[in-house]
């Protein structure tokens, strides 16, 4: 397999990188939406993630990447197996691409046509959701995907389980993954109801500063010339991010959220007229993960401020004549709150 472009070698795009790292620390954050210009390294960043995460142990021959030590809801194959039996293997955290043209069968899984034809057996052929279990599911141009498919993906991502009832097949299997969707607003909007269901939403723009653009071009050129050497050069940086993520995951359950922070989160959501609890919850989870990434055990206002734009900007009511305003509005409310 080709050597992916190292995550740490991506120039700038700090908000996107932080959001992805937060989702890696706390997958319950509910998915990351990356919206913005083309050619900003969106898919490159997602593909660079596995190198930052510890490999996972799975049961060999299991199409659902089941955890040999995991107790919760094993897949249809592993469920029939004796616990603790079966050979295991170690694999990289899966990052599964969901191409725009993918049919529902390919995503959720379907009747295995070949086995049906050849052996006359009705069996289930797992889809992309099975393969993404315990990893990431990446959709480029998510705004162009059918609404019902996005809905389905968000449902599965939230419940951690894929339930299939089709073509005479009835099956359920674990599908816990972080959904990462990216898109370009020039191609169209995402339905507001769907927007709200993503945990974090980040805006990416291509760098306008010449020096920054030069650095992007330089690194890309070096990578194209010799991916292996480039990878070696950045392995130290990626290694530091990897140990940081590992420590952050371990630390996360013990991170304390003081009452003061809870109150600030509520006030911020009130000030911005964010409906529902989803915004507040994401805000708090994000702030905790952000503190864990800084290897701090208590959430501070700056952690809240760091994550607030990503956690809230896509939940604000839209003002048709003030299109670009949502990020600015969050910043303004933050300044008023924190002084």
């Amino acid at each position: 397999m080709a050597t992916p472009f190292p995550f740490s070698a991506i120039v700038g795009q700090d908000e996107m990188k932080l959001a992805l790292r937060i989702a890696a620390v706390d997958p319950t954050i509910g998915g990351v939406l990356v919206f913005g210009d083309r050619g900003t390294g969106k898919s490159t960043a997602v593909r660079g993630l596995p190198a930052l995460l510890p490999p996972i142990r799975t049961i060999r021959d299991c199409a659902y990447n089941c955890d040999p030590d995991g107790a919760a809801s094993p897949c249809p194959t592993c469920g029939k197996r004796d616990p603790g039996k079966g050979r295991t293997r170690t694999m990289e955290v899966p990052v599964v691409d969901l191409p725009l043209g993918a049919t529902e069968d390919r995503v959720v899984g379907t009747l295995d046509l070949e086995r049906a034809l050849v052996d006359g057996v009705r069996s289930f052929e797992p889809g992309l959701l099975a393969r993404a279990n315990r990893g990431f599911l990446y959709i480029d141009e998510v705004n162009l995907l059918e609404d019902h498919l996005v809905d389905l993906l968000l449902d599965v991502a939230a419940s951690g389980e894929n339930v299939v009832e089709r073509e005479g097949i009835s099956i359920r299997h674990p599908a816990r993954f972080v959904l990462v969707g990216s898109g370009n607003p020039e191609e169209g909007d995402l339905r507001p109801q769907l927007l709200d269901r993503f945990g974090l939403s980040v805006e990416v723009v291509t760098p306008r500063v010449i020096e920054e653009r030069m650095e992007v071009l330089r690194r890309r050129d070096a990578y194209d010339r010799d991916p292996e050497a480039f990878h070696r050069r950045w392995s130290g940086q990626d290694g530091r991010l990897r140990s940081n993520l590992r420590r952050a995951r371990k630390l996360l359950p013990d991170v304390v959220v003081p009452d003061e922070i809870l109150r600030m989160a509520t006030e911020l959501c009130l000030a911005l007229e964010v409906d529902g609890l989803r915004g507040e919850l994401t805000l708090l989870r994000g702030a905790r993960a952000s503190a864990a990434l800084e290897e701090e055990s208590i959430v501070e206002p700056r952690h809240l401020a760091e994550i607030a734009p990503s956690a809230l900007r896509h939940r604000l009511r839209r003002d048709p004549l003030d299109e670009s305003g949502s990020s600015v509005r969050v910043e303004r409310a933050l300044t008023e709150l924190l002084g």
């Binding site: 050619g39 043209g101 034809l117 006359g120 010339r225």
Partner: protein, 587 residues
């Protein structure tokens, strides 16, 4: 060997590093020129480079690889085959009629183009196959059509307009030059080169860094073909990759260029590309190299403006940045509700369900899937044909998009142009902000001076329209006929996609430039009226908003000829225009 002949140069770059320069999209009708170019390219490509054709109707399993159903049935065991994409690893994927490539196919190409690999998964066993492909697209769409998917055009480096009269130069010197570069050292680009390309992207209003990256690679290769990476090498790279995407040009008219900008040895040469009849001249090894020996190796002093000038020098004299092209890809399956209507003949496949094969098109794959589980029960032995019953048959539900296309034709001539344009811009933005519900597309044609251009191709994206509207200019003559003609083309293309189209003309005066771009009041008015009558023949709703202080008789006459009517709106602002459009029942 004439490096400034862009088609030959493009072929040489593809032969040297097709992926590095991002492949190519050739615009123009197929014919001898394209055939000649393909032959020329094949002569330059290293032996054994796969060039695979991407058939228009390619199925996902043939494209990506997967189980081979026919072989599986015949042999009674699972047979898996690779797909066209992985079989083209290290080569070029030839896409004829690139504008008709389906969205599914385009979507499947994006990841291999970006990351050079493809993932195959079947029943637990999954494999990642190398797929270092580059696109060789032949875009045969006409100006009024949307063209290939934007996501694909973005990932295609060279955008070339091929003149139908182009013929290939003698190939021997090119083969020699390409071989020489292939054997030589491939040094990393210099700081100056990186800086110039990074800046050129900003200067030309190309936010994405992909084109800059392709152009950087191309400039390095051109420099090595030439012997030195100088301003001209950068200009050629920009002409192939950056300028076709430019959304603005730096403000520096060519006549202000100091004469020493043009290297003396190129002053006497005729402007490229070389006419075919000069091709029998004996060509030696590139003379450029020798004449450049006095310059230090790899020196780049060119600033972005100079690169743009150098690039313009190799483009046709009347070249302007082309309108932003490319269509939006759509997902598939069930669409958004209220957005589509069933169309058995021409729609796209939306869903599959059991049904009557005499009424709708049969979906073979789904039918086989429905029949498959029962084959054992029905007593089929391996090697026998399938036993399919009426209840197995699955048919396709096909739909076409509902919704309309409002085409604004705006008079940008004369003294009031800028004010009117500003208000129209506001109206378009207001309409698009509300179009999420109404599914209405908006397009904008602007006419002024001698010509009309599609400033905003049909879009529903406010963001996209806003960006395109930034480049508005005004003043000059009034070629109204050309404006109506462009709008009519957009309307006809929209109608072919099943959209209800309408034209809204905003003007405050009478035309004075005719359809041929020549001055003269009478013929300009006659041409505009003739096109208006064509609008009526095609039964396209037509409304004129007359923004002159007292109302123009000609505009009333024009609206009548088109079968529509004129409204006098002397103080038309954004909201009034929007209200007028809405009250026509258009959105």
């Amino acid at each position: 060997m004439e490096l400034r002949d862009l088609p030959s140069l493009a072929a040489a770059l593809l032969a040297l590093d097709a992926r590095g320069v991002g492949g190519i999209c050739i615009r123009g009708p197929t014919g001898p020129a394209v055939d000649g170019w393909l032959g020329f390219l094949r002569a330059l490509l290293p032996g054994g480079t796969p060039v695979r054709k991407l058939p228009l109707g390619v199925t996902p399993d043939r494209l990506l690889g997967g189980p081979d159903l026919t072989a599986t049935l015949a042999q009674g065991r699972r047979v898996i085959r690779g797909g066209v994409i992985s079989e083209t690893d290290g080569g070029l994927l030839l896409a004829p009629s690139m504008e008709r490539i389906t969205d599914e196919v385009a979507a499947a190409l994006l990841a291999p183009l970006d990351h050079g690999e493809i993932h195959l998964e079947r029943e637990g066993c999954s494999a990642t196959l190398p797929a270092r492909i580059a696109i060789l697209g032949l875009d045969e769409s006409r100006d009024e059509e949307e063209g290939p998917p934007r996501a694909l055009l973005e990932r295609t480096g060279i955008h070339l307009e091929l003149n139908p009269r182009w013929t290939p130069p003698p190939v021997a010197p090119w083969i020699a030059a390409v071989d020489r570069v292939r054997r030589g050292m491939d040094d990393p680009p210099s700081e100056e080169l990186v800086r110039t390309m990074a800046a050129a992207g900003v200067e030309l209003g190309i936010p994405s860094l992909r084109p800059s990256h392709f152009a950087l690679r191309a400039a390095g290769l051109i420099g090595r073909l030439k012997g030195t990476v100088d301003g001209d090498a950068l200009g050629l790279a920009a002409a192939l990759i950056l300028l076709p995407r430019a959304t603005r040009l730096p403000e520096s008219p060519p006549d202000e260029l100091p004469p020493e900008e043009v290297p003396p040895e190129e002053m006497d040469e005729p402007p490229p590309p070389p006419p075919p009849d000069e091709l029998d001249e004996p060509e030696e090894e590139p003379p450029e190299e020798d004449s450049r020996q006095d310059e230090p190796e790899g020196e780049v002093e060119a600033l972005p403006d100079q690169v743009v000038e150098a690039a313009r020098a190799v483009l046709p004299p009347d070249w302007t940045p082309p309108a932003s092209r490319g269509r939006t890809m759509r997902g598939r399956g069930t669409g958004r509700s209220g957005d589509e209507t069933e169309d058995r003949a021409r729609g796209r496949r939306k869903a599959v369900r059991p049904g009557d094969p005499r009424r709708r098109r049969v979906d073979l794959g789904a039918t086989l899937r429905a029949a498959a589980p029962w084959q054992k029960v029905r007593g089929r032995e391996p090697g026998q044909s399938l036993r399919i019953e009426a209840g197995d048959i699955q048919v396709q539900i096909r739909v076409r998009p509902l919704g309309g296309r409002s085409i604004f034709v705006v008079d940008a001539s004369g003294s009031q142009a800028m004010r009117r344009l500003g208000e129209v811009k506001g109206a378009v933005e207001l309409l698009l902000a509300e179009s999420y519900r109404s599914r209405e597309e908006v397009a904008l044609v602007v006419f002024r001076d001698r010509n009309a251009r599609v400033l905003v191709p049909p879009t529903r994206s406010l963001t996209r329209a806003k960006r395109l509207l930034r480049g508005l200019a005004g003043g000059g003559g009034t070629p109204m006929a050309r404006g109506i003609e462009r709008a009519l083309e957009l309307a006809m293309a929209g109608r072919r996609d099943g959209k209800a189209c309408r034209i809204l003309l905003l003007s405050d005066g009478r035309p004075n430039v005719n359809r041929q771009g020549l001055g003269g009041r009478r013929s300009a008015m006659d041409d505009a009226l003739a096109l208006a009558r064509e609008v009526q023949r095609q039964q396209i709703p037509f409304v004129v908003l007359d923004t002159s202080p007292r109302g123009m008789d000609f505009l009333r006459e024009l609206a009548g000829a088109a079968g529509g009517h004129a409204h006098h709106l002397p103080r038309a602002d954004a909201r009034r225009i929007r209200d007028r459009v809405t009250s026509e029942g258009w959105t």
